[in-house]
């Protein structure tokens, strides 16, 4: 076991390189700039390339080109920069290309702040680009998980030919925690016969495009992609369930706030309140089934987020009005404490009596 103390941002970069990613295109923005710096330092040593683009728009389009040509590639940014990337993301989805994108969220809207936030949940899970589209969204909760989910992201992206978004935040990106890189598991890169990399006189030409001017062709294309999304929804949902089996009150929380919520669950249990935590690891696909199931046994749900209430609506959809769903959040860059979450649990518990 060889643990190293490393920043979340750097853990992503290192895990990406270990996953066989040799190309990184990005643009500096706080609080994720360490990734570009790490890549710039390490990529030349492994025969890779880190290119600082003129903008996030250019960076995502470089990723588009690289992904189309069949290599493992990634970019990263923080909230305002991710908005700029949305154009390219939509094209990448429309062309069914694999790539990895990291959003180290900061507070918004606009230039906002630079402190941790989860206020891009809607953007990540509903609308990171125009069109009928869905991303695969993973939400790490520790630096070790930042590394493992990065490795997983490359495998998922290749398997389903779709972009995978890692949704982290300023705290996870900036904090150092022990990481054991030897514990990581990787997915080998598959053959990519569809890639635009020169037909070599051995096959027909490959075309990568998202343009379908005939409505029936575009509809067929979107329907075909929707089948893929259904497969993903059936097979790839991930979550951590903590003390949910006998819980009256289930907190739903992802990323950094899930850790805080877990501490609150422990504190609540000590006070005799049966609390539990359901932590979605995939935000898209969302763990609706398990939430629906838990709504048979639990009395109430509490969504804890660093925003004004975004994921809570997915929880409500999953629970189908069978049980009350509450929300507690902070925004603008402030984090709640576990005592704050415990207060909310106690309030709900009081109401249940």
């Amino acid at each position: 076991m060889a643990k190293v103390l490393i920043k979340g941002n750097e853990a992503v970069a290192e895990a990406a390189i270990r996953s066989g990613c040799r190309y990184y295109f990005g643009y500096p923005i706080t609080p994720q700039t360490e990734i570009a710096e790490y890549m710039a330092k390490k990529m030349p040593k492994v025969g890779g390339l880190c290119l600082q683009a003129e903008s996030e728009v250019a960076a995502i389009n470089m990723v588009y080109g690289a992904a189309a040509s069949g290599v493992r590639v990634m970019t990263s940014s923080s909230s305002p920069g991710i908005s700029l990337k949305s154009e390219g993301v939509s094209y990448i989805v429309g062309c069914d290309l694999p790539c990895v994108i990291l959003n180290v969220q900061r507070g918004g809207p606009g230039l906002g702040g630079i402190q941790p936030s989860q206020s891009d949940y809607y953007q990540a899970t509903k609308a990171l680009g125009h069109g009928d589209m869905q991303l695969f969204v993973l939400a790490p909760s520790s630096v070790q998980e930042m590394a493992q989910l990065t490795a997983d992201a490359f495998g998922i992206a290749d398997k389903y030919r779709m972009p995978v978004l890692l949704l982290a935040d300023g705290a996870l990106g900036q904090m150092m925690e022990p990481v054991d890189f030897d514990m990581l598991h990787f997915t080998p890169e598959p053959e990519k016969p569809w890639a635009v990399n020169g037909h070599g006189g051995k096959r027909k030409k490959n075309i990568i495009t998202s343009l379908f001017l005939k409505p029936e062709e575009l509809e067929a294309n979107v329907l075909e992609r929707d089948k893929k999304y259904k497969t993903v929804n059936e097979n790839e949902v991930r979550y951590e369930s903590y003390m949910c089996d006998d819980a009256d009150i289930i907190i739903v929380s992802f990323g950094i706030t899930a850790r805080i919520s877990k501490a609150a669950v422990n504190d609540a249990r000590e006070k005799g309140i049966k609390a539990g935590l359901l932590r979605p690891v995939t935000l898209s696909p969302f763990p609706s089934e398990i939430l629906k199931k838990l709504s048979d046994t639990a009395s109430a749900f509490l969504s804890v987020e660093l925003n004004m209430g975004q994921m809570v609506n997915d929880v409500k959809l999953a629970v189908e009005c069978k049980k009350p769903v509450y929300f507690y959040g902070r925004t603008g860059g402030s984090l709640m404490s576990s005592a704050d979450v415990l207060d909310q649990i106690e309030k709900i518990a009081g109401g249940l009596k």
């Binding site: 643990k3 103390l5 706080t30 609080p31 630079i114 941790p116 300023g170 705290a171 900036q174 904090m175 150092m176 925690e177 022990p178 950094i256 850790r259 805080i260 877990k262 501490a263 984090l335 404490s337 576990s338």
Partner: protein
């Protein structure tokens, strides 16, 4: 056991390094640890701080509202963070640069002229190591031997002089009786 430590001062005083040293030592001891720096424009003004949490439990948030221990290297940090030390907590402060004393009687205060001591041995950059020695003496998180060798052993053998200077700075801090 959980220790929430904020270290704060000017850039160049080795604050982030000192924080990392504590975090790595905790990690090597098998503790859960987090280290979180201040970032963005805040660090451009020349001030700098980091939050270190050492715990044998899961660490929920890396952000520290109320530290158990504050290590302050300048007056700005002292004024910003001293009032936030939790009751029963500990203050370490560089008395060369901080001429105030807390009016709180619910915290323990340890003052050491760390900058002066480091300057006296001609190694002004080792102010953080002087402070570390003093910190270790007055807390029971790590043993002195463990941390002293963590500091010196992290330097290559080729830098014997620097090793020796670090060891000396540590000893001076450890042996200080204010």
């Amino acid at each position: 056991m959980t220790n929430k430590i904020i270290l704060a001062g000017f850039g160049g005083q080795g604050i982030l390094f000192l924080g990392k040293k504590l975090a790595v030592s905790g990690m090597d001891k098998g503790l859960n640890v987090t280290w979180l720096p201040s970032y963005g424009p805040e660090q451009r003004g020349g001030t700098c701080n980091c939050s270190v949490i050492l715990s044998d439990n899961d660490i929920s948030s890396p952000i520290i509202g109320n530290p158990d221990i504050l290590v302050a290297f300048n007056i700005q940090s002292y004024e910003k963070f001293m009032p936030r030390i939790s009751s029963g907590g500990i203050l370490f402060a560089d008395s060369t640069l901080i001429d105030k004393r807390p009016e709180r009687d619910d915290i323990k205060s340890y003052f050491i002229p760390a900058t002066q001591i480091a300057n006296d041995i001609g190694m002004p950059k080792l102010v953080n190591v002087v402070m570390l020695g003093y910190f270790i003496k007055n807390t029971d998180i790590f043993t002195a031997d463990y941390i002293r060798s963590a500091i010196t052993d992290s330097l290559p053998a080729s830098k014997a002089e620097l090793r020796e200077a670090n060891g000396r700075a540590f000893d001076l801090g450890y042996g200080y009786n204010g």
